[in-house]
């Protein structure tokens, strides 16, 4: 029991929670933005993989870290454009298109990586983001090392969550996005072009997914390997539901999942009589439980997964 308390009281755990949560925050916000406009984007897993690869590759070839993130965002946006062309213009099934984007982007990442990076025993590395101690705040006891000694993209993720919340709920653009996700016909009747809104939301959301992936190779780790996204994209899709399509709750959900994850890693070392695979399962099981509780009250965007065709009801 005291071992558990020790884990909970260690600043290391709480620092790790924010670190684990960062890619989930980016990814969840990206998926949330797409879904608010009425389009499910299951391309997330693949887009994150590609973002991880291309961001790393840019830095490996001499770009600075921020340029790496930007390259990942642009490439994510391009995959978003592909998904938008398939689901918005052609009106294809959003599930099928999304899974197709994931399969394509994942294998394409591996292909590009193998093409441009020589096979080596240990994967090549780059100089990743260093934690920045926020002046003043990081000197606070416990809280400082736990929350205010993170790498810059983590602060960026939290900032974007706040900005996205503001845009969605306080600006005319946000209202147009939400209306498009609820009833594109009504949006059109009020002079909003639902096609354009959806394109914009999918491209911007996919760019965030690309950044989510790049965080893995440019901050959490410093090298790329093809399986590194490890289902984080699917977690993000679930977190969107958990959040009831609200950025603030998405932030909370990502932190909660990251807490489970950080906690179980530390638990493995304490309770070594239990096979560690059991602990690996834990965050997923708890996520399903949390999802089951939260999703019952969620208000799904009414036009989610419905292609919009002009003049049809």
């Amino acid at each position: 029991m005291s071992a558990l308390m020790d884990i909970l009281a260690s600043a290391g755990l709480w620092g790790a929670v924010l670190r684990i949560a960062t890619p989930l925050i980016f990814g969840t916000l990206g998926a949330l933005l797409c879904e608010r406009s009425g389009v499910l984007n299951l391309g997330i897993e693949g887009i994150m993989t590609f973002g991880a690869m291309i961001g790393w590759l840019a830095v490996y070839n001499g770009a600075d870290l921020w340029t790496g993130l930007l390259v990942a965002a642009v490439c994510g946006g391009l995959f978003g454009l592909l998904h938008a062309a398939l689901t918005v213009t052609l009106g294809l099934s959003q599930h099928v298109s999304g899974l197709g984007v994931t399969l394509f982007a994942s294998s394409f990442s591996y292909y590009v990586f193998r093409l441009l990076v020589p096979v080596a025993g240990t994967p090549p590395t780059v100089e990743a983001f260093e934690p920045i101690a926020l002046p003043g705040l990081s000197d606070l006891p416990f809280v400082g090392p736990a929350f205010f000694t993170q790498t810059p993209p983590t602060y960026l993720a939290i900032l974007i969550a706040l900005v996205l919340g503001y845009v969605l709920f306080r600006t005319p653009l946000g209202l147009a996005i939400r209306m498009t996700g609820e009833n594109p016909h009504a949006a059109e009747a009020q002079g909003i072009n639902p096609m354009r809104v959806r394109y914009g939301a999918i491209i911007a959301g996919s760019a965030l997914m690309g950044v989510a992936g790049a965080f893995l190779t440019l901050s959490a780790f410093n090298s790329f390997f093809p399986t590194m996204v490890q289902g984080r994209g699917w977690i993000c899709i679930a977190l969107v539901v958990f959040s009831s399509w609200r950025p603030s709750r998405a932030l909370l959900g990502a932190l909660l999942f990251a807490f489970f994850d950080g906690f179980q890693v530390r638990l493995q070392t304490v309770l070594d009589i239990v096979p560690y695979q059991v602990f690996l399962m834990m965050p997923y099981l708890l996520s399903i439980a949390a999802l089951a509780v939260m999703a019952r009250r969620a208000r799904v965007p009414q036009a989610l997964m419905q292609p919009y065709r002009r003049g049809e009801r």
Partner: protein, 511 residues
């Protein structure tokens, strides 16, 4: 005329082989209410879509305040002051009333929505036109009538001077409809001009200043409301004299269905409170009432969808206890549900599939659906019940409302059920279809079927029923003989004033 706010001149629109609008002209003065009357498919909605810029007409022009509108540009129509209230509202259930109203009214890339100004404007409009709303309420939590109010306010918010309402009462209860029309008249008095589309003669006569009748895509007549009659309008609309059939004398048979002190409770609310009725073979028992007073529960109880909490249901003299839907079908009870598109049939499935859904067992062989005989059965219904617009393999949702109802009617009546439950059977149908549905119900009655007719339409109840009971707050009044009933008496009964409606009888009073 100088005070015409709207001038539609010579509009024609063709879809493939169908000439939906054939050289239609229409004018609208300031403060005037014009009704566009016509059967389903007469071209009313096409004309309004041309007006609103959803369709580009093949020829003809639309001018607002003397200035021509560019065709096919909804945004231009909105800014010229035309507001459309659609039959299926253009609203989002998950957004607030205010959000629904203000969507698209600001430039898209402002750093912040000016919600307080929008709320002020909305409340001012709401005050001025007597359309009460709570701007912060979630739209999906509002009743249909309130949602319509929001849709109207949305048009007014966009500074509409001309309001077009497409079948505004199709989704409303009688009470809500009356309220709506008094609001519309106030609006006209305040200087707005209104066009409303309808096929209901009563409301057209009561509300409009001028009535334009469309038939087969052409404008066939124009009358002042004060200088015409329901009979004339009905004939103009249908193109021939139509009259709804009246019941004739039929000797009634034994009691087939009897409810004794039945109560039904759903989610802790008593929806039916100790109701009694008896239903004889060869008679129509009419249940009249403003909708929302327990009709749906009554229909569901007899259909086996909900079970009584107390009381006894006797079928052919025997107590049946709790019946499942399958028991009800097996007992020979045919059902015409209140909501034909949701409960009555499955829109995406073919006509033949919908025809056999209730009796899948009869149309299966070795665990497989016997498609051939099912199609033959569907064909028989189509022929005998004059279902137009489809063959057995047509998807159900492609039929018009009247033909949907004929198919559902046919599916039930073709096997001569002993009991028919008909809930709002003519709701939303045009005059020709109403007459056809009524004729079928009376024919079933002549063949000895016992019909329980649930309706909120006085004319329908009076024309078809032998005896009438009113449903008020989940209670049933004692029955009255239809020969002794009149509109005033039924009105009192629907209001729960049973003692006043039936003097000299110990009838009690609805709560």
């Amino acid at each position: 005329m100088s005070d015409d706010v709207l001038e539609i001149a010579g509009v024609s629109k063709r879809f493939g082989d169908i000439l939906a609008n054939d050289d239609i002209s229409l004018s609208l003065a300031r403060g005037e209410i014009v009704a566009l009357l016509g059967e389903n498919g007469a071209g009313k909605t096409t004309l309004m879509n041309v007006l609103f810029g959803h369709y580009v007409p093949d020829s003809g022009t639309v001018a607002v305040m003397g200035r021509p509108l560019p065709p096919g540009r909804p945004r231009e129509a909105i800014s010229a002051g035309i507001g459309m209230v659609h039959q299926h509202f253009s609203l989002a259930a998950n957004l607030s009333v205010l959000e629904n109203v203000m969507t698209g009214s600001e430039r898209l890339f402002l750093p912040m929505s000016n919600t307080s100004a929008a709320r002020k404007k909305l409340m001012a409009l709401s005050e001025r036109f007597g359309l009460k709303v709570d701007p912060e309420a979630r739209l999906g939590d509002l009743s249909v009538g309130e949602q319509q109010r929001v849709e109207i306010l949305k048009a007014l918010y966009n500074d509409a001077k001309i309001l077009v309402l497409d079948e505004p009462t199709a989704v409303l209860t009688n009470l809500e409809a009356e309220k709506l029309f008094s609001i519309l008249k106030d609006m006209a008095r305040l200087g707005l001009s209104l066009i409303f589309i309808s096929h209901k003669l009563d409301e057209v006569m009561a509300t409009a200043d001028r009535i334009v009748v469309l038939r087969g895509g052409r404008s066939v007549a124009e009358r002042r409301a004060s200088a015409t009659s329901k009979a004339e309008l009905a004939e103009l609309m249908v193109g021939r004299a139509v009259s709804r059939p009246m019941r004739d004398h039929v000797e009634r048979g034994d009691v087939v269905l009897e409810a004794i002190a039945i109560s039904v409770r759903i989610d802790g609310v008593d929806r039916l409170k100790s109701i009694d009725f008896t239903l004889h073979a060869g008679e129509v028992l009419g249940i009249i009432g403003v909708s929302g007073n327990g009709q749906t529960t009554l229909a569901h109880m007899i259909s086996g969808i909900v079970q009584p909490k107390d009381g006894d249901l006797l079928l052919y003299g025997k107590s049946v206890g709790d019946m499942s839907v399958a028991d009800v079908v097996a007992a020979g009870i045919g059902r015409i549900p209140e909501d034909r598109t949701h409960e009555g049939a499955i829109g995406e499935m073919a006509i033949w599939e919908n025809a056999i859904l209730e009796r899948l067992g009869d149309y299966s062989k070795h665990g497989l659906v016997d498609r051939k005989s099912a199609i033959v059965f569907a064909d028989r219904i189509i022929k005998e019940f004059d279902v137009r617009g489809g063959v057995p393999t047509t998807r159900f949702r492609l039929l018009s409302g009247g033909n949907m109802q004929k198919l559902i009617l046919g599916r039930n009546l073709i096997e001569h059920p002993k009991i028919l439950l008909a809930a709002q059977p003519a709701r939303g149908l045009d005059e020709g279809a109403v007459a056809a549905v009524h004729e079928r119900i009376l024919e079933a009655r002549r063949n000895g079927t016992a019909v329980l007719l649930i309706s909120e339409d006085l004319d329908e109840i009076m024309a078809l029923s032998d005896r009438i009971q009113a449903i008020v707050g989940g209670r049933l009044s004692p029955p009255v003989n239809a020969d002794h009933a009149d509109a005033r008496m039924l009105g009192l009964m629907m209001a729960g004033e049973w003692a006043q409606a039936m003097p000299g009888r110990e009838v009690g009073h609805a709560p």
